[in-house]
Amino acid sequence: MGGGDDRWEELLSAAQAGDAAAYRDFLTNVTPFVRALARRRLRAEDAIEDVVQDVLLTVHRVRHTYEPGRPVAPWLAAIVARRSIDSLRKRGRGAAREIHDPIAYETFAEPDANKAEGYDYAKQLAKMMGELSPRQKEALELVKLKEMSLIEASAVSGQTVASLKVNIHRAIKRMRLAANRNGVE
């Protein structure tokens, strides 16, 4: 199924051992294969790329389920099939419930009013973040500062999506209390 399957086996096995370069090679090499499989099930280019990224994130989470010595292509194809079905379902549900409003992102009609205030809160923010637990800090940094999706942050941090949500909620609550205490608006 996959042209470079033997090589993929070696790279994925090395990635399981923690070899970052092999893992990068593996993900780069399998991406066209994943994209081609996704294209068989989906039409829209943005949907295909979403599935490709979702598959890469899933591969990251379930890489321990690959059994060294077995072919990689069926393992990978099953993940692509599953994520494509999930995407089709999600889009079906979304299309039935959501409407697109391109100006909904604007909060005020006057463009200048939408700009961030010019105050520098960096120091106070750093101090408040210092009071958070390591997992709360990690969750806040990945999702709010680095703007990762919850799934990406989950793959990177090892925290579950639910745990990330809880930690972000607690972190914001704690920072809000600290801000009130210090008189920061």
Binding site: A15, Q16, A17, G18, D19, A20, A21, Y23, R24, L27, T28, T31, E49, D50, V52, Q53, D54, L56, L57, T58, H60, R61, V62, R63, H64, T65, Y66, E67, P68, P74, W75, L76, A77, A78, I79, R82, R83, M148, S149, I151, E152, A155, V156, G158, T160
Partner: protein, 218 residues
């Protein structure tokens, strides 16, 4: 999902890769789990068993009960093994159907046994036996056996949790029904059989309902 280009995502993931221990083959994992369940069931048998299950249908019914119990055991073993295989991406989907053959045989043999008793004993074959006790036993024993099973299955973070949970539920219910035979000193009537089937449906429904919190799918 994200506005990040795919190559940036690859950089992000590869720079955060940590060593992981590959899961042992599903057959080995299923074997260890079934051995632990057998140990638990064996202990319950030694401490609590009341009767010889083969004699529950009276003289001449031993063969039928023996095959019935064999079908229950085969359903349990194949369903639990199938759940471990289906938890891994790319493994054969035939595992979904493998346990259905002995399951059908189990229902047919139980039905045949009930019919035999109905012919032999008349209307007594329709009477309410200990259906509620049996249901409670099957559901209770399934929960005891099912919780560690689901925990072990969750190690694979299955990408499609429903068939994994459903097979896990069927497997534990079948093994619980097998164990029940050792605490069941009477013949199963049609009403009891309906109770057994209801218990299986409850267990499979519960595991399917709890698939996300229990299996933590990817």
């Amino acid at each position: 999902m994200t506005n990040r280009p795919t190559n940036q995502l690859i950089d992000l993931l590869s720079s955060n890769v940590k060593p992981v221990a590959p899961l042992p083959p599903p057959l080995a994992r299923a074997g260890v789990t079934l051995a632990a369940m057998a140990l638990l069931g064996g202990l319950a048998f030694v401490l609590l068993h009341e009767s010889n299950p083969l004699q529950s249908r009276g003289p001449g019914g031993e063969g039928l009960v023996g095959f019935e119990m064999l079908a229950m055991l085969a359903t349990g073993i194949l369903a639990v093994t199938g759940a471990f295989f289906l938890a891994i991406p790319g493994r054969s989907r035939y595992w979904l159907g493998a346990s259905l053959v002995p399951f059908a045989a189990w229902l047919l043999l139980s039905g045949a046994g009930c019919y035999r008793d109905l012919v032999r004993t008349g209307p007594a074959g329709w009477q309410l036996g200990h259906s509620m006790d049996c249901m409670i036993f099957i559901v209770g024993a399934s929960l005891l056996l099912g919780a560690p099973l689901l925990w072990r299955l969750s190690r694979a973070t299955p990408i499609d949790p429903l068939p994994v949970a459903a097979l896990g539920g069927l497997g534990t219910a079948a093994l619980a029904a097998f164990l029940l035979q050792f605490f069941h000193p009477f013949a199963v009537t049609f009403i009891d059989l309906a109770g057994h089937i209801a218990a299986i449906i409850i267990v499979v429904g519960l595991t399917a309902l709890l698939k996300r919190p229990m299996l933590r799918p990817a």
